[in-house]
């Protein structure tokens, strides 16, 4: 199980945000992206999630059982700045939708909706419409989405924004246990996540203008 990025570079508008980023992550490893605002953390994560086409380079995913390479996106969960939940539906409805939508054959490592809500400490209010939750509660529920269907790779963009201290430690525990289960975690943060053996990649932002083309 191995996620590799080779010579990635990406651009926003006409600016090259980063170039020649390469890394390889094995099961149980994690990578933390740091850097100033606008330094390209979210951009890199979106490239890895396949949501943004890299200017050059590629991201690959080798699963031990599959022969050929898959797109990394299909083995990943992505938790972006936005929560991907409908305010009109209740928390349970939201979570079970994502559970069904993500579900794969012979997947026995996923939690049920109720267990996932409990795991992020909000078991009691899962019947409320998502829109009625406070900012931090919404973020927790968005995190619960990662638990209802197992994916080896977690791509987390500032997962702990808007969270209180207890929730932060809950998240850290969940991330650690995901790593122990053989998962891979990529996270962008401004606050230390408390992962011991995480590798760190410091983004610097603005790696040049694409003027060569012209």
């Amino acid at each position: 199980m191995r996620l590799t990025a080779e010579n990635l570079s990406a651009r926003r508008g006409e600016d090259l945000i980063f170039r020649d980023v390469s890394f390889a992550l094995e099961a149980g490893e994690s990578l933390v992206l740091t850097g100033r605002n606008g330094s390209g953390k979210s951009t890199l994560l979106r490239v890895i999630a396949g949501l943004l086409r890299p200017e050059s380079g590629k991201v690959t995913w080798h699963a031990p059982d599959a022969e050929e390479e898959m797109k990394a996106a299909e083995a990943s969960h992505y938790l972006g700045h936005r929560n991907a939940m409908k305010t009109e539906l209740s928390v349970t409805e939201n979570l079970s939708f994502w559970r069904d939508f993500f579900s794969r054959r012979n997947d026995n490592r996923s939690l049920s909706v109720g267990e996932a809500a409990d795991a992020v400490g909000l078991g009691g209010i899962a019947h409320l419409p998502f829109g009625y939750l406070s900012a931090g509660q919404q973020r927790r529920m968005a995190f619960a989405k990662l638990l209802v269907s197992w994916r080896p790779v977690w791509i987390l963009d500032e997962p702990t924004a808007a969270l209180d201290v207890s929730a932060e430690s809950v998240f850290t525990t969940l991330i650690k246990s995901h790593l122990k289960d053989g998962g891979i975690v990529l996270a962008a943060t401004h606050q230390p996540l408390g992962l011991e053996k995480a590798r760190e990649l410091k983004m610097t932002g603005f790696a040049g203008v694409m003027e060569e083309v012209w």
């Binding site: 078991g123 009691g124 209010i125 019947h127 419409p129």
Partner: protein
Amino acid sequence: MSDSLAITKFSDLANPTRFLALVGKVVPWLAAITAILFAVGLYLAFTTEGDYQQGDTVRIMYVHVPSAWLAMMCYTVMAVSAIGTLVWRHPLADVSHKAAAPLGAAFTLLALVTGSLWGKPMWGTWWTWGDARLTSVFILFLMYLGLIALNRAIADPSRAARVSSVLILVGFVNIPIIKFSVEWWNTLHQKASVLRLDGPTIDPEFLRPLLVMAIAFTLLFFTLHFLAMRNEILRRRVTAQRRMAARMASRGDAA
């Protein structure tokens, strides 16, 4: 600080619990009187003579006119409740206009249907879009349906109440239009002959059953309205208690 201001504020006025007690006492009487009046009204309606001009169809009047009045009165009741919601924020007012909307829709439907049934023999057509009275009543019907839909679309009941109050008040312009449409536009429909400033001009032979039926309809409306309000109060009580139970359960887990 044992009780918040909010709670004492509400218990000064007629609070829901007291209202429920009142409903329990009043409704049986109301229902009984309504039933008696309906019996008398129906008897009168079918024993008085027919009109030489309109034949027996004049008997339709005894359901048509009361339901048309009720359709308008119900909206007026809702508008008054809407003011209660917006100005005094009284929870009973919320309940009142929410409960009244389906009743109003039903009476408006009755007025439309009986009107059509009367129109076919009298004017030779079920419906015409050219008559301001008919179309404004139809609009009233649509507004009732819209209000019902609005109430169902907003989950938080007090917010739903406030928002629909605004709409009720804005829509109230339709009521004078219905009432005076026959004066302002020259149309097929009858001019007012009972509810006018210079006294009724209708033959007392018809007036008697009409009045009895009108009172019966009005009392029926209030009976149903009280009961629907009671149901709504109970519904809110149930949701409040369910939430409380859920909160206490999750609190128990946390502790």
